[in-house]
Symmetry: C2
């Protein structure tokens, strides 16, 4: 192999990616068909999906489309939630909801609970979102409203992937993302909550370096990297950029779900 | 504010980013001027840097240019390193070097030491790289060679930023990156080790949602997200894609360094 010549593992990614926010996405409400929203948004920019395209959706519009609105006015906190709420100085009804969405609390501090979410990942406050979180049909005087994460982002991603693949006759990927904080480092980045069609992990094992040595640490978190890239242009759903097209990847259709990205607690060296 | 209208905070990022690997970068050796390498690589693709462009460099070529090669044959392990090496089943000379590069060991397991690097971040094995890690001038029979991380990636990024800004008369950013594993999740992503010219953190505090509520969790790790995006196309330096251009960001020149991304251990809720 000549220096600079890509290995076969390198062929998963072209030399140029375009990360494009789809403009003009309307506010999404419960029951809306997101595949129609995506197809109509793409039509507005005269874009047809092609093989290797990945549509990235902010989890917020999935939550809205799936009606994951919760009126905290209707939530009754348990004794556990009441105690914990006092300890961390949060609304007890929100704490109750965080507990319902989680399988365990790993850390707590004023204003934040770090939990293992029912979907398996670790996040602050179970990813519950309190901004622009009311349904359009919310009655006067209701709320405060919050949005919980989609029930099954992998299933939603798979359904959308099938719909888009059929519509565009193309092998596409779909990733549903959220922005979270993370250990050791400041600031939020995008993470993949739901994955379909595109590999979640990009296993480069077996690729060799210029001297024939097998590369170490060769598994890239492809879906998380795509989520982080999309987050750069997506901003937050509040500003009307919940859909991002990532173009320029090359991948064989994959059965990976976002679960592939989760490390077992017992294997977690860093945590 | 109308729905879908970007807030001022949103103006930091255009609606489309291009992430482009610069082809044909040669193997770098100690003493090479990276600004010349970048300028020549860009010239090869007929690209002039413009305001808002960010050049992303894999830390490996910075290490090579700065001569951060270490011949393990010349490293004498301390007693501490010898004991630790036996415990985690690693080359004692490599363990010695990891300890020299670190201020503390936070976790250990077979094959890996999770350390706080002297530069402040948490990583496995102090980011020491054993593939394609020999200088071109390495004498026959020397080695095994490894590369340690650059001495001061922020300073290198700042110097390169100044050189590129002067050459192209443009307000550009420079980010030096590495790919690491992280807590809770499988696979590696790109992280920013050195930052110049571009904000490391993108503080969106004060931006309001459609209902006038101030957005929560509004600080994005801009430089880490750019690093993750670049990692998608960069592959590893071994395959000759150590330089990536990210185009389409809009930012006011920033004095941030990569240190802005480090969370104090005592404030770290997740760890």
């Amino acid at each position: 192999m000549k220096p600079g010549e890509p290995t076969s593992a390198d062929l998963h990614v072209g030399s140029e990616l375009v990360v494009r926010a789809i403009a003009g996405v309307p506010t999404i409400d419960a029951g809306q068909d997101l595949s129609e929203v995506i197809i109509s948004g793409l039509a507005g920019t005269e874009t047809e999906l092609v093989d290797g395209d990945v549509m990235v959706l902010a989890s917020k519009i999935v939550s809205r489309a799936e009606g994951c609105f919760v009126d905290l006015g209707g939530v009754t906190p348990s004794d556990t939630a009441l105690h914990l709420a006092e300890e961390v100085d949060k609304d007890p009804r929100l704490v109750e909801l965080i507990l319902r969405e989680s399988t365990g609390v790993s850390r707590k501090t004023t204003g934040a609970l770090i939990v293992r979410h029912r979907l398996g990942f670790v996040s602050a406050n179970a990813g519950i979102d309190a901004s622009n979180a009311a349904p359009s049909s919310a009655p006067e005087g209701s709320g405060p409203w919050v949005l919980i994460l989609p029930r099954d982002p992998d299933a939603t991603a798979a359904r959308l992937r099938a719909q888009l693949a059929r519509h565009f006759s193309a092998e596409v990927g779909v990733i549903i993302t959220d922005s979270w904080g993370r250990p050791f480092r400041r600031g939020t980045v995008g993470f993949a909550l739901g994955v379909a069609g595109v590999p979640a992990l990009w296993d480069r094992s077996g690729a060799v370096d210029r001297h024939g040595r097998v590369l170490e640490a060769t598994v890239s978190a492809l879906a998380d990297s795509i989520a982080a890239a999309a987050d750069l242009v997506a901003g937050q759903a509040d500003e009307g950029r919940p859909l991002t097209l990532v173009r320029g990847l090359r991948f064989a259709p994959s059965d990976d779900s976002a679960q592939a990205l989760l490390r077992d607690f017992k294997d977690d060296l860093y945590a």
